[in-house]
Amino acid sequence: MMPYFKFNYFGVDTSLVIAVIIGIGFGFALERGGFGNARILAAQFYFYNMRVLKVMLTAIVTAMLGLFYFSWIGWLDLSLVYMTDTFIVPQILGGLILGVGFVVGGYCPGTSVVSASTGRYDGMIYFAGIFFGIFIFGEMFPILENFYNSTPMGRVTLPDFLGLSYGMVVFLVVAMALGAFAAAEWGEKVRFRITGRIKE
């Protein structure tokens, strides 16, 4: 049965080797996508280049369909898959701050690692900034703790929240993604016609 680790197919030390291998795949994919480059990532927010949206949504859809399939044929126990509890208000506020940091700094944490390891100085400085931001958060935590733990909703999925079946939500997400891809392709063309800017 999957997930293998939860059924003790191997121990913690092996899991760390697997972590490095999975990380290599993750970093390789991010670099292939152009995400070691802040200009590509920032272009998403000016509608010049919608790569961030395309790669992210494709990845989410791929993994979501895979999880749905393996759970449906009975090979995977989805309830053993780790999921963070939802604390809706702090998560939305955190997301807004993070989004601002994304466009100001040009990266997110994972992409800044790739940027730094491919020689980009802005990625290295950005990565250092993350440590500083976490340190500030840690120092402020006694003041923030109440807010951090506010609006708890537990382990809750979109199907739970919307009162729809898992398969129906999977279908809706796929439909939404296809719509977003069509809009992104169209938007890039329109943007190109207006500005004459070549997308990278």
Binding site: S15, A59, V114, I134
Partner: protein, 175 residues
């Protein structure tokens, strides 16, 4: 020799997306968890603060959470090893495509000094925001998105909202 070779163009985003999705799926099927990034620096920060001022971390639940109860080494952490892999994987891919280069990525209308200042400020905001949201674009948006986690989807829309709101004010950096 890679210095002389021309950098290859980036790959098709949909192909990359499927590849990234399969990596994420593999993490779920093998480990029962998804990908992550920001908890690696979090663990390091907590360990360093604990080394310098142990009495300071005792009453702080945030640091305590990352340091653990002392039975295991906090640095022997899955995400730390995964992030080391991310650096290796990025370097491998960049090397194969001749894209390794010591440079600063920025728009034409901003100085290197200002770009690096923004990079640090952006990283700081990112670190703070990721902790408040219990994860970053990897650990929440991507990983939680695939298991249809409500908080992750709300977070993802907030990230794009925050990015588009701030984009206008920071446009000189990129355009």
């Amino acid at each position: 020799m890679s210095e002389l070779a021309k950098p290859k163009p980036y790959s098709n985003p949909y192909v990359v997306g499927v590849g990234l999705g399969l990596v994420l799926l593999a993490a779920y099927l093998i480990m029962g968890r998804g990908l992550g990034a920001s908890s690696a620096p979090s663990t390091v920060v907590a360990v360093v603060v604990n080394k310098i001022a142990p009495e300071h971390t005792v009453n702080n639940n945030f640091y305590k959470d990352y340091i653990g109860d002392g039975t295991t080494n906090p640095l022997k952490d899955w995400i730390i090893f995964e992030v080391i892999g991310v650096a290796i994987g990025g370097f491998l891919s960049g090397s194969l495509a001749h894209r390794i280069k010591g440079k600063v990525e920025k728009g034409p209308n901003i100085s290197v000094k200002m770009r690096l200042t923004y990079a640090f400020i952006g990283g700081t905001l990112m670190g703070f925001g990721a902790k408040l949201a219990r994860g970053c674009t990897s650990g929440q948006a991507l990983t939680g998105g695939a298991v249809l986690n409500l908080g992750s989807w709300a977070f993802m829309f907030a990230v794009f909202g925050g990015g588009y709101l701030a984009a206008y004010f920071i446009r000189r950096q990129w355009l």
